[in-house]
Every structure is written in structure tokens, then in C-alpha cells.
Amino acid sequence: MRNADLKTEIERLERWFREVCPAPPDVERSAIRRRVRVALDEQWLATRLIHDAPPDLADRAKSRVREALRETTGSSSRIQAVRGRGSRLAWWVGGGLSAAAAVGLAVVVLRSPTESVGAEAVSFVSAFELFDEDGFDGELARLRDVFLAADEGLEHWGDSLDADWESSHDGA
């Protein structure tokens, strides 16, 4: 996708966000641009930031993990043995108390008001956080595709937004 096309697409998505996410215009524009810019800069950084570990590091780590596992399982066995001696009495006492607590909890839950998160709770920040969390659909998928498409010409295209970005940048 050419830089000009990407810019147009971002602007279209900005308009969509303005419609679905009520917020003061300056705040929303600033938030979107900041988030877009961060996403682009992250992609830019990803092309430069590799992570090669020393070849034997994983093996050394595994060796220490095995030691830690032996210590952990050894401790766990000792604890289990000690716990086992007192467990039968505890079971009878604890079981009775648990049953009573469960009844009480059920009453509380049934009497609690339910809460739902409405669309009005979606801020720009949280909307963009969807980008990170649970996958995409609809316009968020489009937004992701735009970002990913930006990968090729990333070093250059983002600069086409610089002038606008700086003018709307809130200095954060």
C-alpha cells in the first residue's frame, strides 16, 4: 500500500472512531494519532531489535530448572506428609464450615446487582487496547491490516504524518 493510501486509510479510521467513541474532538484525535504513531514506531523498532541468546543459555537454564524442580517437589512431598497427618480431622471441620460458607455466598451472589459494561465505557485508549488483547473484527481488523501493511515502507510513510502529528501532539 502506498504511503498516500495509508494516510487516507488512517484518516478514514479516525473518522470511524470519532463516530463510535464519544470524546472531545481534540482528545480523540490526539489519542488516535499517538496510538497510531506508537504502533508504527514499534514496527520500525521491530525491524532493528533482534534477540539472539547465547546458544547454550537455554540448556544452562534447563539444568537449573531441573534442580529447582527437584527442590520444589522434595519440599512439596515433605509438606504433603506433614499435612496428611492432620488432614482427616481438618476435613471434617473444614467441610462443615465450607458448606455453611457456600450457602452464605450463594445468598449474597443472588442478591447482588449485575453490572454490564456498555459501549459508553469504551474509551479510545481501551479501544486501542483491544488491538492488543483479544483479536480483531470489523474496523479494528482493518486498522490492524493498515498497520501491518505499513511494515514495508515504514521508514518513510510515517513521516508523511509528521507535520499533522506535531501540530496535534499534546506534548505527552
Binding site: V38, A39, I50, A53, A61, A68, T73, G135, L148, A172
Partner: protein
Amino acid sequence: MESSFVASRLPLSTNSPVAATSNRSLVERAQRLDPDAFDEITDAFTARLYGFFHRMLGRQADAEDLVQEVFIRVVRTITDYRDDGRFEGWLFKIAGNLARDRIRRDRGAPQLADGQPQVRLREVADSRSDVETLDGATTRGEELDDLQRLLERLPAVEREVVLMRHFGGLSFQEIAEYTDSPLGTVLSRAHRGLTKLRGWVEPQK
């Protein structure tokens, strides 16, 4: 060993339900202290954890030490981990805590109000004029060394967000939660850090 752990994305790639399911199964095995599960976890995350620590601290020996320390802490605490599908986040929360502890220990840095270390690995003026650029870099190795040097010029709190995103694949919300910082603050740190980095690398644009 081919790891069955499906590592999540670097920034902007996708989290898939398949990956989450596969990871959940592996985490369950790890919670039963299955050694093979830990081998897979170690294979899956050693490089990324090493990258995080190396870039965060700037020292290979520290990075190697802390990578192993992360896995040991995972062994000791995995049974307490409540699997909410964010195992990587949990792993990098441990990593972030270890990195901050190491920075504090090394530098004796005072704490900011939000609990973050107020430290720079190299105290330099934050101005473009005195920052060397990558213009003369002729090899990728040189460029990486320069990038490391520039990363070290970022305040630790900005560097941490940038690296947790890149190596840990954490969402901003997770980073905010793990660093006990407001979400907006985390976003601003990412924005400032990345803007500085890119500006230092490409000052001519």
C-alpha cells in the same frame, strides 16, 4: 526440542485462540511440575527474555543470570499462578521486577512516586545535538551496537515499556498493571521513548 508453546506476537501481530489454548495446556502441565513442560517453556522464552534483559541492563552476564532466575521463580511459583491466558505477561512481570531490582541494586537509584526507578544507565543530556546518529553505520552489527547505546540513553521507565512491548508482547494495559502505573502514563512513556529513539536514529527526516 521443538517447542509446542506458541509465543505470542511481537507488537502488532495477532494473538490467536489456538495459541492461547495450546499455551494453557502447557501451563497446566507446568503446574503439575512436569519437567518436559518446563523445557518447552525454557525453549520458547529464553531468547526473548535474554533480549529483554540484555537491552534493559546492557550487560550480557546479567542478562544470562536473570534469564535463569526467571525460570527458577516460575518453578517455585507456578502452582500459585492462576491461568488467565496471560502466561507471557506473568513471565515478563517477573522479568520486569528482576530487572528493576537489579537496576536499583546496581545504582542505588531513588524511587519515583510511582515506584519506578529513576535511573539512566548512562546519564547523558537528552538533546538531539549531542547524540550520535546511525548515519555512518555500515553493518548490522554496528547498527545494533548503536541501537543498544541509544536504548541506554532512555530513562529506565521508558526503556522498560518499549522492551516489554517488544520482547514480552505485553499489552499496554498489562504493563500498566504490572508496573502499577496509570495506562495513560504507560502509553506516554512508550510514545516518548519510541519518538526519541526514532529521532536519534533518523534525525534527518
